[in-house]
């Protein structure tokens, strides 16, 4: 094929390769409207890729085991067996709350450490990858904490977790090829959401309640 003929092929590509049919605008809008404008606030801001992933289920299991392991055994095992009716009516909620608080505290500390150690402007690809991996790990915990009943009762914590989730998603993307402005955008998001000072305040709150 000579140059002119190939130029002609390239020129004609818009008409010859996957020429699109008319877009079903109304049909698509109904789905978008339902998903965005009719959905609860929490669903609007959650990144879709965190949902319905097999590793999320695995992580749920791990966190569950972690919480279970951190509940003091003495409360459940070494106590004499109470009457059946009393056991069923009074689950050991304080132990669960303690475990949740410990997990949250641990998580907030890790998130704060990650954000503080994030380089200001430039970093090597290796460092990017390390931050991205850490952010990916924290993302799983973030989503689990957001979805936990305890977070639904603490509006401030929930809002912080949602902001953190967005920042962590951006950091996790540093693993891929990044443009020069990506780190700036992350720092902007941290600053605009006042994320670090809210994190510090949340860590202080959870530690003082121990």
């Amino acid at each position: 094929m000579d140059d002119d003929r190939f130029k002609e092929v390239i020129h004609d590509l818009p008409g010859s390769f996957n020429a699109p049919p008319p877009a079903p605008l109304d049909e698509m809008w109904r789905v978008i409207e339902d998903a965005h404008f009719n959905a609860p606030q929490a669903q609007r801001t959650s990144p879709g890729f965190l949902v319905n992933t097999p590793w999320l289920a695995a992580a749920t299991l791990l966190i569950g085991i972690g919480i279970g392991a951190s509940i003091p055994r003495a409360r459940t095992l070494s106590k004499p067996q109470p009457p059946l009716a009393v056991t069923a009516a009074s689950p050991d909620t304080s132990a669960v709350a303690d475990a949740y608080r410990d997990q949250t505290n641990h998580y907030l500390g890790q998130a704060a450490a990650l954000l503080i150690s994030l380089p200001a402007t430039d970093a090597s690809r290796k460092a990017d990858s390390s931050f991205a991996n850490k952010a990916s790990d924290l993302l799983v915990t973030t989503r689990l904490l957001i979805d936990s009943p305890a977070a639904s009762q603490d509006v401030k914590l929930r809002s912080l977790l949602e902001d953190l989730e967005l920042v962590l998603v951006q950091i996790a993307r540093l693993r891929n090829e990044r443009s020069r402005g990506d780190l700036d955008l992350i720092h902007q998001a941290v600053e605009q959401g006042d994320v670090l000072s809210r994190l510090n305040s949340a860590v202080a709150t959870t530690q003082s309640s121990e």
């Binding site: 190939f6 590509l13 605008l25 978008i32 990144p47």
Partner: protein, 191 residues
């Protein structure tokens, strides 16, 4: 806090709606503004999704997914690139992720398809249009996407660089390789 939303203003031609006002209104939860913003961009987004996927049903799903993601992240849009470029970057990401998953989990190739792939090179005068489609689809993802964005959808290298998150020079070299491979695949056509 009461959020005061300005009414939508129209320019002198009374046709182009101020996009940044629309974006602010969508962030505030205004679904009419959402629809207006959608109407401005959906045809191009659907077209891009269809070009990249070659399937109307998938293009519909990708378009929906891209808008849902874009609306939920609108507050992160800083206006450093055009809104359309930012939105189209989301579309490209959505389609690329889906194609990557298709490859990872192994798309089924029917016997007819397999036969057609094997025999196309041996045909004396295969249909040019079909051969072009096969040649474009057989390019690697990065080359294919760059070729479609530049030569079919008409984006500039600067826009493609933003969409793919790579330097402009990378886009140019990818396009050059894509064209070269395409030409090689179509060498059987003399005229």
């Amino acid at each position: 806090m009461h959020l005061r939303v300005e009414p939508i203003k129209h320019d002198r031609d009374d046709q182009r709606v101020n996009e940044s006002q629309l974006i602010a209104r969508v962030i505030a939860g205004d679904r009419l503004a959402g629809r207006a913003l959608y109407d401005m961009h959906a045809p191009r987004v659907f077209s891009l999704a269809y070009r990249l996927s070659g399937d109307a049903e998938k293009a519909r799903e990708f378009t929906q997914d891209a808008f849902i993601r874009a609306f939920s992240r609108l507050s992160q849009f800083r206006g450093e690139a055009a809104f359309s470029t930012w939105l189209h970057r989301i579309v490209v990401t959505v389609v690329s992720n889906a194609r990557r998953n298709e490859v990872r989990f192994g798309r089924e190739v029917t016997l007819d398809e397999a036969h057609s792939i094997e025999s196309s090179a041996a045909e004396a005068e295969p249909d040019l249009k079909e051969s072009i489609a096969k040649a474009v689809n057989s390019l690697s993802e990065a080359y294919r996407t760059t070729l479609i964005l530049h030569d079919i959808e008409g984006y500039t290298h600067a826009e493609i660089a933003v969409m793919l998150g790579v330097p402009e020079g990378t886009c140019k070299s990818r396009l050059s390789v894509a064209r070269s491979q395409l030409r090689e695949a179509l060498a059987v056509f003399k005229e």
